[in-house]
Structures are given as C-alpha cells and as structure tokens.
C-alpha cells in the first residue's frame, strides 16, 4: 500500500530539488543531508525498531572513512574495493562486539557503545603513521571504470540513489518477519523470548546492518570531501546521529530522513552564532523527548489521521 508511495514521493523530491538549488553550496548541503539520512535510516532500525541505543555509531562512520582513505590513497586500492572491504571489516567488527555489548541494557548498553566509539576515535588519532593523526589526511576522488566522481552534481545523484536503495532495503526488513521480531524485542524482550524469538540473534543482525550502513557512508564522505579527520568519529557526531533519529521519529524511516534534513540544515543556519550549535542540539533533543516522544513525523502523521 503506502509502502512505495513514500519512496516515490522521496524520489520525486530528489529529482526535482536541483531546480531549486542555485549553486554548489546548496548541492553540498543536500549531499550532506542525503549521506546523514542513509546512516540514520540504518541507525533507526537499531534504535527505533529494535529499541537498542548506540552512542558510538560515528565510530563506524570513521572506520569506513579511514578504510577508504588509507587503502585507496596509501595502498592504491580501487576506491570501490576499499569501500567494500571497509564495509566487510566493519561488519565483522560489529558482529564480534555486538554479542557481549547487546547483552547489556539501558544505561549499560549506552555506556558500552559510547566506549566503543571513543576507542575507535582514539585509535584514529594515535595511529598517526597511517591516519595522519589529529590533522587528518587527504583522500583521492572516487573513480570507477575510468570515470571519476568529482562534481557536486554527480555526487548529488549518487547519494540520492544510494539513499533510495537504503530506504527500500530498510522498508523490506521492517515489513519482514525480522522486522516484526525486532518490534517484539522493542515491546518486551522477555515476551519476545517467550514467543520463541532468538532476541540476541536479531539484535546482533540489526546492529551489524546499521554499522555497515554507517561504514558505507563513511567511505562516500571520505571520497566526496577528499579529506578525512578523526572528527568524523567524534562523540558529538554520534550524538548528532541519535538526535536525528529521535527528532525525526523513532520507528519511522521517512522520519529519519526528515530528522537528518532538519539537523543537517540547522548548523548552517547557526554557523554565525558560535557556541550555540551544541546548546540548540541539546534543546531540540530535550524538547522532542518531552513534547513529541514519538518524533516529528509520526506525531504529525497521527494528527493528520485524527483530523481526516
């Protein structure tokens, strides 16, 4: 039913948006929105559907970014191979740490994922021989079969296409038995176990999937920006991502996209007011949790349904 309507609407927006974008700066913002949205769609599966928090997802973005940066720029790997290797490696790492971490709940899970993100950040800073340390390193542009992806316009279409693919994948998972199992875990883990669901297995799977989404975007960002620094895996970036999920709407894929759009645009509007960015982020997160606990899009949708 509405499954493809949302996707078609988003595809239309992506197709028509360039008509309203006057210059490369606006393309840049749109690309950043798209990339953040891909991460957030994945993270939303974990936070919104399975009800598991992760305060370390920027760490996976960082691993993906550096896998692409180091392998393609220092070892001359083809960018696509570096990107796929990064995604696979992050998948394995996420799988290995997921079991012990996801046995924890609530604050303990938050603490463990937070720690994971910080460890990745520290490694990226300290292994300066490979990563360039705090100052970061430059990355060569993405190229495939002799074609180089360099202009903002090209990246816009690639990001848009990947975003639509990610949403299609996420929607399929949500509507599958796996998705139902995840929501059961969110509702009550004990009840889900009683119903015969191997809750840990599902939680691990969705954790790995969301980490791989993050890694893929990390690789894209590295090539798009042409530069990586450990800041991509900073704690603040993790918080930004979680805020996007919460503000847009938990367990709402399009809500996640909306959250990414709002919170990527906001810093651009606040760029001239130094120091207020963090405060604004905190305030938005707080107000959303207090007044719109379900997030922006689900609340609006519910209102509309009631009114109509």
């Amino acid at each position: 039913m509405g499954r493809f309507r949302g996707l078609a609407a988003l595809a239309l927006i992506i197709a028509l948006l360039p008509l309203a974008l006057p210059n490369n700066y606006y393309y840049d913002v749109a690309i950043r929105i798209g990339m953040n949205a891909i991460i957030v769609v994945g993270l939303n599966l974990l936070i919104g559907y399975a009800g598991q928090i992760s305060l370390g997802h920027a760490g996976f973005v960082g691993l993906g970014a550096y896998a692409s940066a180091v392998l393609s720029s220092r070892f001359g790997w083809p960018p696509l191979a570096a990107m796929l290797f990064g995604m696979a490696a992050v998948g394995v790492i996420a799988f290995v740490v997921a079991r012990p971490i996801l046995r924890l709940r609530g604050h303990y899970l938050a603490m463990a994922t937070l720690g994971l993100g910080i460890i990745i950040y520290m490694v990226l800073v300290n292994e300066s021989a490979w990563t360039g340390g705090n100052d970061g390193m430059s990355v060569r542009p993405f190229s495939l079969l002799g074609l180089t992806l360099a202009s903002e316009r090209a990246w816009y279409w690639v990001t848009g296409a990947v975003l639509l693919g990610a949403i299609l994948l996420a929607n399929n998972i949500v509507d599958s038995p796996v998705g139902r199992a995840l929501r059961a875990v969110h509702g009550s883990e004990v009840a889900a176990q009683v119903a015969g669901i191997d809750t840990t297995r599902y939680k691990v799977r969705v954790f790995v999937l969301s980490a791989v989404f993050a890694s893929a975007v990390g690789s894209m960002m590295a090539h798009y920006l042409g530069f990586v620094s450990p800041q991509v895996s900073s704690f603040f970036h993790s918080i930004e991502l979680v805020t996007m999920v919460v503000v847009g709407g938990m367990a709402s894929t399009y809500g996640a996209v909306l959250g990414a759009a709002i919170l990527t645009t906001l810093p651009q509007l606040l760029a001239t007011f130094e120091g207020y960015e963090m405060i604004t982020f905190g305030l938005i997160l707080m107000l959303t949790v207090i007044f719109l606990p379900r997030g922006l899009l689900p609340t609006i949708a519910a209102r509309l349904r009631k009114a109509g």
Binding site: N134, D135, Q231, Q268
Partner: protein, 382 residues
C-alpha cells in the same frame, strides 16, 4: 490591480538596488572559517576577536580602496569536514574576495583543494609546514612552523656547545608534529638525540621518563616539546629530581601561565617565542616593537584579556591581505594573489615577512626570539 502595481514597484526598486551602480561600493568580503568553539578554541577565539576588532578599525578609517571590509566568519569547531562545507559556502554563496582563516592544520589542508580549484587567495592561520611545502599557488600562511621552533632551539644549543640531548615530546598533535620536525632537522645542527621519551598531555607525573633521560650516558640537555599545562608538570618534576641539565621548551609554553604553574623550577628555562609575548622587554631599536606594542595595547583595551600569538597571526594575515588589495588596486583574485606573493619587509606580530614564489610564509629564524626565564619573568637570552 493596485496590489499588483505595488509589487511591481517593489521588484523595480530591488532591481535598482542591485544594479551595477550600487554594486561598485559593495564591501570587500573577507571569509573566515575559524575554530571558535571546541578543542581548538584557544586558536579560533582570539583570531576571530582580532579580525572583528581590526576590520571595525579599518572601516572607521575609511576602509580599503574606498570600500568597506566585511567579515564573513563561520565556526568550524576545528572539524575539517565542516571547514570544507563553510569554504564552499564562502566561495559559492558569499562570494568572498579572500579567505583569512583555517585555525588548525587539518582544517587548512582540507580547504586547500577548494581554494586552489576556485582560485581564491587564502591566508591560513595554522602552523604545520605541509601547508606551504610544497608551495601551493593560492595558499599562504602567517604563523611560524614547529620546524622553525626546533631549529631555533638547536641553533642556541650549538652556540652553547651542547650536542647530545634528550627529547621529551607530548603525545598530542602539537607534540608529535614537533617531534617529527625536531628529528628531521637535528642533524643539520650537529645535534644528536640520545634519549627519546613521550608523555601524555594530562599526565600528573613524568619522573619515570625524566629519570631515563637523566641516566642516559652523555646527555647534555633536555628539550621538551609540548603545549599548555603538560610542560609545567615536566618542569616541576625536573626541579624535584634535581636535574641541572640545560632545559629547553618549545614555543608551546610561551604564556604567563607556564611560569605561574612551574614556579621556581622554571628558572633558567630557555624557549623560542614570538616577539609579541615579550613586547615590553624588546629593545626600542627592534623594528617589531611598535607593531607588537600597538596590537597588544589595542587588543587588551578592547577585550581586557592578554594577547596570544594566535590572535597575532590573524592580525598579520588581515594586514597582509589589506596591503595586497591596496597594491593590486583591485580585488581581482589573480592580482591580489600576486600582490600577496610580492609581500616584502612587512613587519607583523610574527616577524618580518618576505614572501616569494617559493616561500609562501616568508619568515626566517629571526622571527623567533630566544627567551630565558629569570626571576619569574621573560628575558631575552644572551
């Protein structure tokens, strides 16, 4: 109908306001992505304050080429990916005439490909040598490099006949970059690094590393490369261990805070520093004296804060840019770039700047003064 007419009049007026006649007096735009918040705010904060203060001052005196200056600054929090976004915005949306900014080496290096592609002159306020080596057509910088600090120290050691030294570096971006440069240039001055240790910026005790250096055969001096409060801990430990070897620090400790935190143990410590920090003790014959005294007074009067070398770098960058606009007689990017490259004998807070096609910083070792701490205050080392 009347509403329609009103709207048309509005559009006509707007078009008139944007017509070329009005455009000729448009301000000269200076773009500045700076790390005003976050871990590197000690750089970005004084830089922004300095730019605001002096742009206001220059406008009060009639501006440049008969046009006002306009500062467009964005806070990148020291994050290169944000600096990239803001640089695109400055170039594409704000259409700035020059960029003076980039507080950290990371942000600057991330911005370099964008300004090179767009062909906009860029004066960076960050430290590392990689920014200007190899030379990039549109990129300049004002701060001294850590290589210069190491060279200045080694030059002084050579003069005193010290050849075997222990290097203690901080495990931070600043300390590690300094260590790399120190190791690279030591040979040039006949200095042999016989012991090499590291400490963390938040360590409360460094006696283990110091004892190792002290017990190394033949060691004649200690060189500490660190920033902020870490070197003060090292200095205190040196005092507690009773180590009497000549003790050198980097330009990273050139602040009153260091003397306060280290107390008596700081006596006799030598370090390279920009003239700005010792404005008062400079001899009157020093060509930099009026510049650094002037900047220091103006800044202190306005913000009731001590000056830092970082704000000074922004002052130098702005003044070099303004002089280049005047010499070029226009804001044409290519002409302004050439004019910056032709900067000769410019006296700034960082030193005397002589740029060339092969040197986009233009400072030599004379930009650093060798200081010695005597009776709890800075003196020029003899």
């Amino acid at each position: 109908m009347s509403k329609f007419m009103l709207r048309m009049t509005g559009i006509a007026l707007a078009a008139f306001a944007l017509s070329p006649g009005a455009h000729a007096q448009a301000p000269i735009k200076i773009g500045s992505p700076l790390a005003v918040t976050g871990g590197a705010s000690f750089l970005g904060d004084p830089e922004l304050k300095t730019l605001q203060l002096y742009i206001e001052k220059i406008n009060g005196e009639g501006g440049v080429l008969g046009r006002k200056l306009e500062l467009v600054s964005y806070d990148d929090g020291g994050a290169p990916d944000k600096a990239i976004g803001f640089t695109k915005r400055l170039i594409e949306e704000d259409k700035v005439d020059i960029i003076v900014g980039g507080s950290t080496t990371g942000a600057t290096m991330a911005m370099v490909p964008l300004v090179e592609k767009a062909g906009i002159p860029f004066i960076s306020l960050a430290g590392a040598v990689v920014i200007i080596e190899p030379v990039k057509k549109w990129v300049f910088k004002t701060p001294h490099t850590d290589r210069m600090a190491a060279e200045k120290v080694f030059e002084d050691m050579k003069k005193r006949g010290l050849t075997k030294i222990g290097l203690l570096s901080e495990n931070s971006g600043f300390g590690q970059s300094g260590k790399k440069e120190a190791l690279a240039v030591a040979g040039k001055y006949g200095i042999q690094i016989v012991a090499e240790e590291m400490y963390g910026p938040k360590d409360a005790d460094v006696t283990t590393q110091l004892t190792k250096i002290k017990n190394t055969a033949g060691v004649q001096a200690i060189f500490v490369f660190g920033f902020g409060s870490g070197p003060a801990v090292v200095t205190k430990n040196i005092g507690q261990l009773g180590i009497t070897l000549p003790h050198y620090e980097s330009h990273g400790v050139a602040s009153e805070e260091y003397i306060k935190l280290s107390g008596k143990a700081a006596e006799g410590v030598r370090l390279p520093a920009a003239a700005l920090l010792v404005a008062e003790v400079l001899p009157n014959s020093d060509p930099q004296k009026p510049v650094v005294m002037g900047y220091s007074k103006t800044y202190k009067d306005r913000y009731k804060q001590d000056v830092s070398t970082f704000g000074g770098h922004a002052y130098d960058g702005l003044m070099i840019a303004v002089a280049a606009f005047k010499r070029a007689g226009s804001t044409d990017p290519a002409k302004v770039r050439d004019a910056i490259e032709q900067t000769r004998g410019f006296i700034g807070t960082g030193g005397v700047v002589n740029m060339s096609a092969t040197d986009h910083m233009g400072l030599d070792l004379s930009a650093f003064r060798m200081l010695e701490i005597r009776n709890g205050t800075w003196t020029l080392a003899k």
